[in-house]
């Protein structure tokens, strides 16, 4: 459709949809991150059935976001005419969504595997859990995950599928997406320069001191050497996490 022929309303709807998708992508990203944090504790001594429940809740959320985004993005892409202004953006969204899906799929596989390997049904099973030194405090993470707002609250909510089904669904989704729309992935360029995230990220600035405190190690007087990088403003603070 010639863009001059499109009404203002159509253009605005499309813009809104694209913005929705972007927000959804961010939400997906957040949920995936939280899921990963929780999945890292499966099988460790901080594992518990409550953790697994929380993980499943997060997974359900991820599922919701994914399906919604999928539904919204495919038609957007189908409508995209070459030469359209936001084509780049939409393609970017597409590529990122696929990456996110793959990432989530990987985590889901691992999670499934680990839950199988370390079942918690028997009492004795707890003995087999790996002592990793972490505690089982995940409420903060779960809360963060739950706080993601999927932009289409109120639309049809599917039942939360169980893990295996979820994985196969994502598999199918990815395959279908790859076949449906042909976009040259490598044509998508990143909007960010390299190394900028280190500078820009405001959150990191807040708790600099805190992280540093944690990083100091003293082991009976033994101190690991510091690398003395040129930018290190902290003199010879012993960095545990160098």
């Amino acid at each position: 459709m010639n863009r001059w022929q499109r009404t203002v309303g159509e253009i605005q709807t499309r813009k809104r949809q694209v913005a929705e998708c972007e927000r959804a992508l961010e939400a997906l990203s957040k949920v995936t991150a939280c899921f990963q944090q929780m999945a890292t504790s499966v099988g460790s001594s901080s594992d518990s059935s409550s953790l697994r429940e929380k993980t499943n809740d997060t997974r359900a959320l991820a599922h919701k976001v994914c399906t919604g985004l999928h539904r919204k993005l495919v038609p957007l892409l189908a409508e995209t005419v070459p030469g359209q202004e936001d084509r780049d953006k939409v393609e970017q969204l597409w590529v990122h969504f696929l990456t996110g899906l793959e990432s989530l799929q990987q985590d889901l596989y691992k999670f499934g595997d680990l839950t199988d390997r370390f079942p918690l049904k028997q009492k004795n099973d707890r003995r087999a859990l790996i002592k990793t030194g972490a505690s089982d405090e995940f409420s903060g993470v779960a809360a963060q995950a739950a706080s993601t707002q999927s932009p289409w609250v109120g639309t049809e909510v599917e039942q939360n599928p169980d893990l295996k089904t979820h994985i196969t669904q994502i598999d199918a989704m990815i395959k279908e997406m790859l076949q449906k729309v042909s976009i040259p992935f490598w044509a998508v360029e990143s909007t960010q320069e390299a190394w900028t995230e280190g500078v820009d990220f405001s959150d990191a600035a807040d708790d600099q001191d805190e992280t540093l405190e944690v990083e100091v190690v003293s082991q009976d007087g033994k101190m690991s050497g510091c690398c003395h990088p040129p930018n290190c403003k902290f003199g010879c603070m012993l960095c545990l996490l160098t």
Binding site: T99, L114, K131, V188, S190, T211
Partner: protein, 661 residues
């Protein structure tokens, strides 16, 4: 969207990862609160983190559980750390186990290495971005390089990667501080294992991927049993050698080569890798005139050694020339050239070899038994790389059994042995060693070396092929097929004109005093240069030959190969017994087919030779003969029945005598 190569025919299993299942079992046992490894809290400034274990505890537990020595327990422990199941809390980059009070912790199962989860670059990119966020651009060198490269190759995903990194960072902050520290340590340890810093040996190196998952239990179907049966049957049928025999061979080899092994015995004068002094390599170059004693000694070990060393081969060639049986070696070299050469020239080469060595009446006919000859000739109808293998092996064995023994007793060899040098061992002081190290320079580029070789070869070719002397009196070379003298002294192919009516065979040639000069040449080659048997040397060293070269040059310009010059001159000496060329009786028909041409005036070559050369008694004989030949040459066919038998190569007139080609 990440490219997954699904056409890998199922080869995606990493073979060394079979042990992972077993390692996991060990780790699980270590968790047992009663019988497992004792853990203690790790004290940090603000908090304590439980579940830290000491290296010595780990080693002690392993030694106890598996009833092994401490050393072995250490090795096992090191493996656990190298695979990433246990990570060190201090000195996190070195994945070793220190059997003292240094602390370790178990890795969470999410970060265990697994067969089915190859490590993804996307995850690594996210990790690096996270580190960048935390450390504000202060990353290690190798991490920076990786970051840059990933940024380039994953540019299309980069926004997502950054976004995910930020989210993961935020999610991590939601946890309590000790947990964050633990998680960060875990993640860092994971990436040290899977993306090791440069220079560290990674336990994750696993070679090629395999088709079968080594961790999977194989189902015992009928196919499994069928394969097992076949395998065991084949094992039974395998030929065996008694261990006394095979060990005896090994012992013999070790004893023989003991002093020649640079690891076991010092190199003379010094090992260039250790002292940066390249004298050793200079002394052992390919075309050196005087070889070292060690090198000469190696030639006595076996015939294969002699042939493998180019200097040795040259010496052997010299010896064979004196015995006038060089065609065997030439044939052998020709076969090697065929085997290893380019496919494009294979056909030509095979034909060339046939015509030069195998056909009846060939100029350098070799003596192989009838059956091998049959097989070879048949094979030459459809030549391939290995068509001459049987003949080559036969000739090799012939040379080995016969000529090799005589070579080792010959004056040529004894001369070489006497002249071989035995360099003194270098004794460098530390400062000298440093000076040597500073003087290190790269050697000649192989391109230049090859160019030099080509030039060498060209020069040798124009100076005339040296093995003409191998011609028996009853054979004659075909003019337009230059005598094949092996790859080292490649025949002047460019000069071969396939159909030169000007110079058919035979070849009665009148050359003034050429026999004498040629004789001189032989002698000169044989005697004067015992130590420098290079064909190169022969071509260029003696000045009396240079004039010969000039005249030959003239010859060549006329489009005939220099071999015709010496056609009738094979000196009259009795054909040596054994492996020299045997003469084929010439039927008169053949002679009739291609009448000898009047080449008498063609080849007037004045060669200036020093007077002392004319002393040879045979001179007069030869001159007579050549004189007779010239008369005969002018006269007519078959003129020289009693003198030079002229051979007309059968294929020239395309008779049905030809076996192939």
């Amino acid at each position: 969207m990440t490219i997954r190569n699904v056409r890998d025919h199922g080869q995606r299993f990493r073979p060394r990862m079979t042990c992972l299942k077993k390692v996991e079992a060990v780790i699980l046992e270590m968790q047992d609160p009663k019988t497992g490894v004792k853990s203690q809290p790790q004290r940090l400034v603000i908090t304590t983190i439980p579940h830290a274990i000491t290296g010595e505890d780990i080693v002690a537990w392993l030694a106890n559980r598996y009833s092994i020595q401490t050393e072995e327990a250490c090795t096992l422990g090191r493996m656990l750390v190298a695979f990433g199941y246990i990570y060190p809390l201090q000195d996190h980059k070195r994945l070793i186990i220190k059997p003292d009070a240094s602390l370790y912790r178990f890795q969470t199962p999410y970060f265990w290495p697994a067969q089915q989860w190859p490590v993804e670059d996307t995850d690594y990119a996210i990790y690096l971005a996270k580190r960048n966020i935390r450390k504000k651009g202060i990353l290690e060198m190798y991490e920076q390089e990786q970051y840059n490269s990933l940024h380039k190759w994953m540019n299309h995903k980069w926004d997502f990667i950054v976004m995910q990194a930020k989210e993961q960072y935020r999610a991590g902050k939601e946890r309590k501080k000790p947990d964050r520290v633990v998680f960060d340590c875990q993640e860092r340890a994971y990436w040290v294992v899977h993306r090791p810093p440069p220079g560290t040996i990674s336990a994750m190196d696993y070679g090629l991927e395999r088709m079968v998952d080594p961790n999977a239990e194989e189902k015992q179907t009928s196919d499994f049993f069928r394969r097992t049966i076949i395998f065991t049957q084949q094992s039974i049928m395998r030929p065996r050698v008694k261990s006394s025999v095979s060990i005896g061979a090994l012992v013999k080899y070790s004893i023989t080569y003991n002093k020649h092994d640079p690891f076991l015995a010092p190199c003379l004068p010094s090992n260039p890798w250790l002292t940066d002094d390249v004298t050793y390599w200079m002394l052992n170059m390919t075309n050196v005139e005087i070889p070292t004693k060690m090198r000469v000694e190696r030639w006595t070990f076996s015939f294969g050694e002699l042939l493998a060393d180019p200097r040795g081969r040259a010496d052997f060639t010299l010896f064979l020339k004196k015995e006038f049986s060089g065609e065997n070696l030439a044939f052998w070299e020709a076969c090697e050239d065929l085997k290893w050469g380019t496919a494009a020239t294979m056909n030509e080469k095979a034909q060339q070899i046939y015509k030069t060595f195998l056909a009846r009446g060939a100029p350098r006919w070799i003596n192989i038994d009838g059956k091998t000859m049959e097989v070879t000739v048949k094979g030459l109808k459809h030549p391939h790389r290995y068509v001459l293998d049987a003949a080559q092996t036969h000739i090799f064995m012939l040379m080995k059994k016969d000529s090799y023994g005589r070579y080792l007793k010959s004056p040529v060899f004894k001369e070489t042995q006497k002249r071989a040098i035995d360099p003194e061992q270098h004794r460098f002081s530390v400062t000298q060693l440093e000076a040597n190290a500073k003087k290190r320079r790269p050697s000649l580029s192989p391109i230049i070396v090859r160019q030099q070789e080509e030039e060498e070869r060209a020069r040798m070719a124009t100076s005339g092929p040296v093995d003409i002397t191998q011609l028996c009196r009853f054979t004659a070379p075909v003019p337009h097929l230059a005598v094949y003298s092996g790859p080292l002294s490649s025949p002047p192919f460019p000069l071969c004109l396939p159909h030169t009516p000007a110079c058919p065979s035979p070849i009665s040639v009148t050359i003034d005093s050429t026999p004498a000069s040629e004789r001189r040449w032989e002698e000169g080659v044989g005697g004067g240069e015992g130590g420098e048997a290079d064909q190169v040397g022969e071509g260029t060293a003696v000045s009396s030959r240079s004039r010969m070269a000039l005249s030959l040059g003239r010859l060549l310009r006329r489009g005939c190969s220099p071999s015709t010059v010496f056609a009738s001159l094979s000196p009259k000496f009795p054909a040596p017994a054994g492996n020299s060329s045997r003469v084929q009786p010439i039927s008169t028909d053949q002679i009739g087919q291609a009448p000898p041409r009047r080449i008498a005036n063609f080849f007037q070559i004045k060669v200036d030779i020093p007077p002392e050369c004319r002393i040879y008694p045979i001179d007069s004989e030869d001159e007579e003969e050549s004189g007779g030949a010239s008369k005969g040459g002018g006269g007519g066919e078959g003129g020289g029945e009693g003198q030079v038998k002229e051979i007309i190569c059968p294929w020239e007139s395309l008779t049905p005598h030809e076996g192939a080609g």
